[in-house]
């Protein structure tokens, strides 16, 4: 992996830590495991958008676990929690390309979460590995969505399949998958229009896209990545539930982690969906995508 990226990720994380570092340093360095300690921990988790329910649950579990293991020190207790959260979120494996067929990745999520940019970043990643990549302009709804992806496709050196604005997105995917076979494409990455999960008809549209993909290439899409903005609050849970109901989500992408938000809602989402976080977005450039590092993330969340 590119070292400078890791560095950048770390600075990103470091920045988001800043405010908490001092207070928590004192919190964990010494002192007993008293109510104040657990309350502060709860506060930290909630401030990181882990969500009320998940935060209370985690802290309660830590209480029991610390007691069971006779842990006395704050630093030790914190490490247990870090491991707990990291274990919850880990487990993403690089998807394997099926033999003789393209790997098909579908990006879904609410408006503005970062789907198109993530599609481009993924395309770039696979291009760097020497793969032939096809981007699918599946957002036929939003103004200039196709133009946006087209510019990214050029930058990434990926092929693009598109249709007229307003056309049926599943038709675009139908075309794209046929083209992918004919052109011996390795990876197909599908962008979709942003949609609020409460819009039933748009969720139906997503189901249809999924069905059409599966019809052209049985077993596809292999990855359905739900793109979540790190600033998202509790609504992320509802997003996860509804999107997963429409198209079985296989993993999460957490974007905009280069800001001050810590993206803790993925902990709550994981609690429900049991899918790993696969990638994190740490900027607007094409290289600003990293595989998810559960341990670093958990530490940053508690720091």
């Amino acid at each position: 992996m590119n070292l400078s990226l890791v560095e950048r990720f770390k600075t990103g994380l470091a920045r988001s830590k800043e405010g908490f570092l001092r207070r928590l340093d004192h919190l964990f360095r010494g002192g007993e495991l008293d109510d104040e300690f657990y309350d502060d921990l709860e506060e930290t988790l909630i401030l990181g958008d882990v969500g009320v329910e998940a935060s209370l649950k985690l802290v309660e579990k830590l209480r029991l676990e610390s007691k069971r293991r006779k842990v006395r020190e704050r630093g030790q207790a914190r490490e247990i929690l870090v491991q707990e959260i990291a274990a919850l979120l880990a487990g993403a494996a690089e998807p394997v390309k099926p033999a003789g067929e393209p790997l098909v990745i579908l990006l879904v999520g609410v408006n503005g979460s970062g789907k198109t940019t993530t599609a481009a970043k993924l395309a770039h990643r696979y291009r760097q590995e020497g793969r032939e990549v096809l981007l699918v302009a599946g957002d036929t709804f939003r103004a200039a969505a196709v133009e946006q992806l087209q510019i990214w496709a050029e930058r990434a050196g990926a092929a693009l399949i598109k249709q007229q604005p307003g056309s049926d997105p599943s038709a675009v995917f139908f075309d794209a998958l046929q083209a992918a076979r004919a052109r011996h494409i390795d990876v197909v990455i599908g962008d979709t229009a942003g949609r609020l999960h409460t819009r039933t008809n748009l969720m139906e549209e997503l189901k249809k896209i999924n069905r059409v993909i599966d019809r052209v290439q049985p077993g596809a899409p292999h990855c359905v990545l739900l793109v979540i903005d790190a600033t998202t609050g509790h609504n992320g849970i509802a997003q996860a539930l509804h999107f997963n109901e429409a198209v079985p989500v296989t993993g999460l992408v957490l974007t905009k982690l280069d800001g001050t938000a810590r993206g803790g809602i993925v902990v709550g989402i994981q609690d429900i969906l049991k899918v790993p976080v696969c990638y994190v977005g740490i900027g607007e450039k094409i290289g600003d995508l990293l595989p998810f590092a559960a341990d670093d993330f958990a530490r940053a969340l508690l720091a």
């Binding site: 920045r15 506060e43 909630i46 401030l47 990181g48 958008d49 969500g51 009320v52 329910e53 609410v110 408006n111 503005g112 979460s113 970062g114 709804f141 939003r142 103004a143 200039a144 969505a145 133009e147 946006q148 992806l149 087209q150 510019i151 990214w152 609020l196 999960h197 409460t198 819009r199 039933t200 008809n201 903005d229 790190a230 600033t231 998202t232 609050g233 509790h234 609504n235 992320g236 509802a238 905009k256 280069d258 800001g259 001050t260 938000a261 810590r262 809602i265 607007e284």
Partner: protein
Amino acid sequence: MFASLAEKLQNTLRRLRGKGKLSEKDVDLALREIRLALLEADVNFKVVKDFVVGIRERAVGEEVRRSLTPGQQVVKIVHEELTALMGREQSKIILSGSPAVVMLAGLQGSGKTTTAVKLAVNLSRSGRKPLLVAADTYRPGAAEQLQVLADTAELPCYRNDGAAPLQICREAVRLAEREGYEPVILDTAGRLHLDDAMMDELKTIKAQLKPAELLLVVDAMTGQDAVNAASAFHEALGLTGVILTKLDGDVRGGAALSVRTVTGCPIKFAGVGEKIDALEPFHPERMASRILGMGDLLTLIEKAEAGFDQEKARQLEQKLRRQEFTLDDFLEQLQQVRQMGNMEDILAMLPAAQVPKDLQRLQVDEKQFGRIEALITSMTPQERNNPAIINSSRRRRIAGGSGNTVQDLNRLLSQFSQMKKLFKQVGSMEKKGFKHIGKGKRGFPFF
């Protein structure tokens, strides 16, 4: 959620009644429920803390102790205080200067471009001649997006791809002066508040163009981080207001309270859909209801009133009160509801706990609507008046006659009876001390 918060508080506070002195523990328990409810609505942790301290005094006061329903009373107090915090009154946009400049700023993906167009549409409908300016030179396709949307709305859009944002804005103002456009609405690129260079760019634009309004566009789904971003933008730029976006979903929108509290700036508009006219004035009271999970009844009522025949609505209301609501009325309702917008939107505005599961899934798309219409019109007048008489042979006849399955019919009948129940619940909620919600606004057909 409102129901459950009120219930929880009711249980906690029941013991308070009649007692001369309140125990610390009772009060703390009640405040804890409030705290959790606000946190679940994504109000910032620190904002909640301060807020709850403020509530405490009133919560232990006479008005609660005397009340027969202390739980409801506390919710009412919380609701009032939330409303007060968010500004009580609606805050209007200020357009001074010639030409007036309105500048939008915000994080990436918050919805600035769409909001710029919505704002322009809104202002042009009130007689202005707005000019949209594509000052986002960073995100691929951003200028094109603004242009396409402006074209759709038949509004002018200034772009000069390749030039620097400041230059584009200056040129746009000159154009506006020449052509008499006003206000000039600047769509700037999304940026992180941590990005000094990008924040400096906004500072310069502000210093040069002296906008009458500098509005922060905030995604209603934002969690705890809303305070960080908002206060950083405010510190750097001196905001004049906020626009909340994506309020059309099921989000509780506690970010509204957080942002308002840390910036002190009024929230001026709310985005409620992807269409270019889906922008509404912000109503603090309704937002308070929403944060507490009480649903956005007022908006619903207003929408209904805009789209409904008052006299018909009044008749219907009486029928509902007398439980005489028939399938004919149901059909008519659906026809009217369709004019109001999406069924999902409408249901999203109702208090979550009040909406039965089956109804949450009710979809009124064209196809389903046609089916319902066919089913109901295949019934005899007696059947429409009294669905209870529809036995299995009638079911087969109606289904067959309308080209549907018996399952389709069963689903319709179950939805109909659910809906009747819903009316009953909402009606009784009105009685339970939330009269102010619909005060002077009678005749909403759902009640």
